[in-house]
């Protein structure tokens, strides 16, 4: 669908650009603000933005899963983490600056990977959309062992978490 009368720019491309910029800005903001509760607000915006990218890629089931698991559950878990470890919820962090070495390492990683990405075709590719029922068939068919493994892992994680935080240990 052309935008602004220019047939070369489609609405989807504009949407992707906006979503990408918002994702990067919120991720950086989440790590740089001093107030921990504001960090969690920014990360919630980040998760919703990633969910919108899934919808843009015509993966609606993943978009809904991202909203439910990340924007819902993980955000609330992180808020509980803040609530249970602080006497006052709104208290500022000690400033942790931008250390040169980790920043350089992150930049080098980015440039290294992006230059190898540059060898892929630059033109636009068509997005294939799949029926969520096909996804379910795949998940419970060939990927059944993975799903069982995920269930076992979650059970182990629950048992381990309860062991870690139980009362009255030495």
């Amino acid at each position: 669908m052309p935008v602004l009368g220019d047939p070369k720019v489609s609405l989807e491309e504009v949407a992707f650009l906006v979503l990408a910029v918002v994702a990067l800005l919120t991720a950086v903001a989440a790590l740089l603000v001093r107030e921990l509760v504001h960090t969690i607000l920014w990360i919630a915006v980040f998760f919703v933005d990633i969910s919108a990218i899934y919808f843009l890629l015509e993966a609606p089931f993943l978009g809904v899963l991202q909203l439910g698991v990340y924007a819902g559950a993980v955000t609330v878990l992180l808020l509980f983490g803040v609530m249970l470890t602080r006497k006052r919820i709104f208290s500022r962090e000690a400033a942790t600056g931008l250390d040169a070495v980790p920043l350089a390492l992150a930049l080098v990683t980015f440039i290294f990977v992006v230059t190898s990405v540059g060898q892929l075709p630059q033109s636009n590719q068509t997005v294939t959309s799949y029926d969520p029922s096909l996804l379910s068939e795949n998940l419970f068919g060939p990927f059944g062992p993975w799903l069982l493994l995920l269930g076992l892992l979650m059970m182990g994680a629950v048992a381990g978490s309860i062991y870690l935080v139980r009362e009255g240990r030495e």
Binding site: L24, A27, L77, G81, A94, P102, L139, S161
Partner: protein, 105 residues
């Protein structure tokens, strides 16, 4: 039919991973480290969805399926991280990882 640049998407997730890596290396607060891990993990999951969406045939569905499983893994990881956070807070009275020196010789 939607047509989008695959290279732009890959650049986005690489940038997000770099942000997460930076956060993991520099932050001292356990919750911030967990959030940075989540950002990096989301970047990795996005990659699976891209290659699933941009490839044709039933093989492309594998990307989305793996992404579903990985979202479950990431949620599990946050739950265990929160338990470690509470144990650390009970043991040390702080969630600063610089003071978590129990395993040092």
């Amino acid at each position: 039919m939607t047509a989008l640049p695959l290279v732009g998407f890959l650049a986005l997730s690489t940038a997000l991973f770099a942000v997460g890596l930076f956060g993991i290396l520099t932050r001292r607060n356990f919750i911030l480290i967990l959030i940075a891990i989540e950002i990096a993990m989301n970047a990795a999951i996005l990659n699976f969805v891209y290659f699933g969406a941009f490839s044709n045939g039933t093989g492309g569905l594998t990307g989305q399926t793996v992404a579903v499983v990985l979202i479950g893994f990431a949620a599990t990881e946050v739950a265990v991280g929160l338990a470690i956070l509470l144990a650390l807070n009970r043991l040390k009275g702080t969630i600063n990882v610089a003071q978590a020196t129990e395993l040092k010789l």
